[in-house]
């Protein structure tokens, strides 16, 4: 475990348990596996008559969204509610900070409400790190997406989906296609895949959508689909934002689709049993053809189901890490 790296220092307790979940980078492999294993238990809970467990009863989870995203917020809300936590949704994008209140003021106010967890989405890279460093030690922080930096719960639900279909990560070749430059999802996926032991991670896109020194993330870089998709086990397509055309990063959706859009023809470069993933919401005819999105290799809808279980796992592990680091060991015996 690399405790020397700043991200690990913030995210882990002294004994190596999860305290905040801000990025997949630098986390030890056993911890990522623990998240996946715990998520498996919660997938089972989701199949019951009553899909709710009393684990976080009496805890308060605050969804702190500085950048609106109904989808992501809803999955965190459902995850928290299935853990019996109380949930407060704050759409900061439209309230406090626009009235001149600083982020710190907002945080102090929320702490006064005795929250146990902040689920943070912010347009600035690093915002959840800042918040985790500033909040009182009893509050766990979960990153629900910051700038271009990280979206670790999305990456972990993707890892769950891959493990579910492929059994593990050894020997896997995974391609991530599209707008890598602006993608926090891609960054978190590359780190998680490398930690979990995937053989090769490839990033595919035109140079305008690839970050400088993309290899530094731990991936190989391709500018064409024929080479990039050859023999891969997993294809992850990223959503292309319409604004990219306005900022001279791409000429048109049509040309992008012709070169990088995933259709059955291009999917033939991948292995026969390759699965196709997408963090959603999908742009049909821009990054993915309907024949693939709705086809037999697509696991896009499963990702959503697993997403709730993975978020339940991360939330319970982080609150558990917070509690244990705050209280040390007060407890009695295990038998009951």
């Amino acid at each position: 475990m690399n405790l020397a790296s700043p991200s690990s220092r913030v995210q882990l307790t002294d004994d190596g348990r999860l305290r905040h979940f801000l990025t997949t980078e630098h986390l030890p492999r056993p911890l990522l596996e623990e998240i996946l294993d715990t998520a498996a238990s919660f997938v089972e809970v989701g199949g019951r008559a009553i899909k709710k467990v009393p684990l976080l009863r009496g805890k308060t989870v605050v969804n702190l969204f500085f950048e609106s995203s109904t989808r992501t917020r809803s999955t965190f809300e459902l995850a928290a509610k299935r853990l019996s936590a109380d949930v407060l949704n704050l759409d900061i994008a439209k309230s406090a900070t626009s009235k001149g209140e600083t982020l710190l003021d907002t945080l102090r106010n929320l702490e006064a409400m005795a929250a146990d967890m902040f689920v943070v989405r912010h347009q600035d890279s690093g915002a959840p790190f800042f918040i985790a460093n500033e909040v009182t030690p009893q509050v766990a922080v979960i990153n629900a997406g910051d700038g271009r930096h990280a979206h670790p719960t999305q990456a972990m639900l993707d890892m769950y989906t891959i493990r579910h279909h492929k059994g593990g990560f050894e020997g896997l070749k995974v391609a991530i296609v599209g707008d890598i430059l602006h993608s926090r999802v891609a960054r978190s996926q590359v780190h998680a895949l490398n930690i979990l032991g995937a053989e090769e991670v490839r990033l595919i896109g035109p140079r305008t959508l690839l970050p400088v020194d993309a290899e530094a993330l731990g991936a190989s870089v391709f500018t064409d689909m024929a080479h990039g998709l050859r023999d891969v086990d997993v294809v992850i397509m990223l959503r292309l934002q319409k604004e990219r055309m306005d900022s001279a990063l791409l000429p048109s959706e049509a040309e992008f689709f012709r070169l990088y859009g995933l259709n059955n023809d291009k999917l033939r470069f991948a292995k026969e049993d390759a699965i196709v993933m997408h963090p959603g919401p999908i742009n049909r005819g821009v990054e993915i053809a309907s024949e693939v999105a709705d086809g037999p290799r697509s696991v896009i809808l499963q990702q959503v189901t697993f997403g709730i279980a993975v978020r339940m796992a991360v939330m319970s592990m982080a609150i558990s890490g917070q509690d244990s680091s705050a209280q040390e060991s007060v407890a009695g015996g295990a038998h009951g």
Binding site: S5, P6, S7, R9, V10, E25, T102, L103, L104, H122, D124, S125, G126, A127, F129, F130, E134, D146, G147, R148, H149, A150, R184, R187, P211, V212, D213, A214, A216, L217
Partner: protein, 429 residues
């Protein structure tokens, strides 16, 4: 060491006198009479003078800082002229060139205000750089000649680059008419738009919008061609990328009247300092790669880069308490300039004479001012340094801006006495 500060004459005894301008490096006495440095020599005698025992200490010219950002009301910076010049004096700095972005400095009223406040505080000599265009807006010429007569030593447009090449050419022609040096901070606006970190592996990993090195060299190329065309004296500030260095070397080889500086933080830190989103390391130009840092150090050593400045930018803590991209760029630097420069000497990166030259005579030369050397017959500006004494910055930090990664560090080198233009401006207890 010294007795109280007074108008009496001052005899500084047995210090190691290091004056990069003359190459002097010897143990000697210095005599300051009526504010002027009158003699440097062995075993001087001056009845009635206050005696400063500098045995074991260094006696240096007062430092010249070619780039500080002043804290005037409305600038949004921490502290005021008194607090920041006092911090400078305590660090051995006697002369500061103030960037024109604190007002902006485009009227004689602002220049007068700066000079009055600095004069009242009496800790250091502030030399304002005048705005080159009105309101730094880059479209209309400022009254450069009038501003120069009011006390500005040069003109420039600070971080607000003059985008219009025709306007810039006319600015340079106008400045050249009055032999005013022009200060440039090369950074192409469109290539750096939205960026907050060096475009490289660290920014890629942290997801921080990047500023490519080429943003600097593209702009520097344009500026150098216009300097050549207009014949103006030019000083390039805060060079950060190695791609800029061949351009500067070539310009100097062609005989252009061009000088350059680098900020001390770019010689000690690189992009790795941003790990963990450390907002104290959010500076513009951004901290670049380790290879850039190496190349900058070599360029200082070989003189391609003339001077080392602090780029002092004191910022209130609330402006740094935010997610990295939302924080205000800048680092408070006067407290650390001299000890950090000395650390480069201790690490064998610069010779002592070159390092001290880069913070005394060289910046004075870049700015075209008489300062940064121990010259008899002139008003005395000097400092006495205990080069071995630790300075615990968590205790001794005088700038009102706490925005520095060294804010809690202990560095080596503690200034015991500073004399600015004949007056004691700092005396440690």
């Amino acid at each position: 060491m010294a007795k109280k500060a007074s108008k009496a004459n001052l005899l500084i005894r047995k210090g190691r006198v290091i004056d990069p301008a003359s190459g002097r490096d010897e143990v000697a006495d210095l005599l300051v009479e009526n504010g002027r440095l009158t003699r440097i020599g062995a075993s001087l005698d001056a009845p009635g003078a206050d005696i400063v025992d500098a045995d074991g200490h260094w006696v240096l010219p007062g430092l010249v800082d070619a780039c500080v950002h002043l804290s005037l009301p409305g600038s949004g910076r921490a502290g005021d002229i008194a607090s920041e010049t006092r911090a400078a004096a305590a660090a051995g700095i006697t002369h500061l060139a103030a960037q024109p972005d604190c007002g902006p400095v485009d009227s004689t009223a602002v220049v007068r205000l700066i000079r009055e406040q600095a004069g009242q505080a009496g800790f250091a000599r502030i030399m304002p750089v005048a705005a080159m265009t009105q309101g730094l807006a880059g479209s209309q010429l400022a009254e450069m000649a009038t501003l120069a007569r009011a006390g500005c030593i040069a003109v420039g447009n600070a971080g607000a680059r003059v985008a219009d090449a025709l306007v810039l050419k006319r600015c340079l022609e106008y400045a050249a008419s009055f032999d005013l040096p022009v200060m440039f901070r090369p950074q192409d606006a469109s290539l750096s738009a939205g960026g907050c970190a060096h475009e490289g592996p660290v920014a890629t990993r942290l997801g921080l919008p990047g500023i490519p090195a080429v943003a600097e060299s593209v702009d520097l190329s344009r500026d150098l061609l216009l300097v050549e065309a207009t014949g103006v004296r030019a000083h390039f500030q805060q060079i950060s990328s190695r791609e800029s260095l061949p351009l500067l070397r070539a310009a100097k080889r062609r005989g252009l009247p061009v000088t350059a500086d680098v900020s001390i933080q770019h010689l000690l830190l690189d992009e790795a300092a941003l790990e963990g989103f450390n907002s104290h390391c959010h500076v513009i130009p951004p901290l670049r790669s380790a290879a850039d840092r190496e190349a900058l150090l070599e360029a200082v050593a070989d003189g391609t880069i003339d001077a080392i400045c602090s780029q002092h930018t004191p910022i209130g803590s609330s402006s740094k308490a935010a997610p990295f991209p939302a924080t205000r760029p800048g680092m408070a630097g006067v407290d650390t300039l001299l000890p950090l420069v000395l650390s480069l000497v201790a690490d064998g990166r610069l010779t002592l004479l070159r390092a001290l030259d880069a913070v005394t005579a060289a910046p004075a030369r870049c700015l075209g001012i008489q300062a940064g050397q121990l010259e008899t017959g002139r008003p005395a500006s000097l400092c006495v340094l205990d080069a071995q004494a630790p300075r615990d910055l968590s205790e001794q930090w005088l700038s009102a801006g706490n925005n520095s990664p060294w804010r809690r560090a202990t560095l080596t080198g503690s200034v015991k006495l500073t004399v600015c233009q004949g007056k004691v401006s700092w005396l440690s207890d």
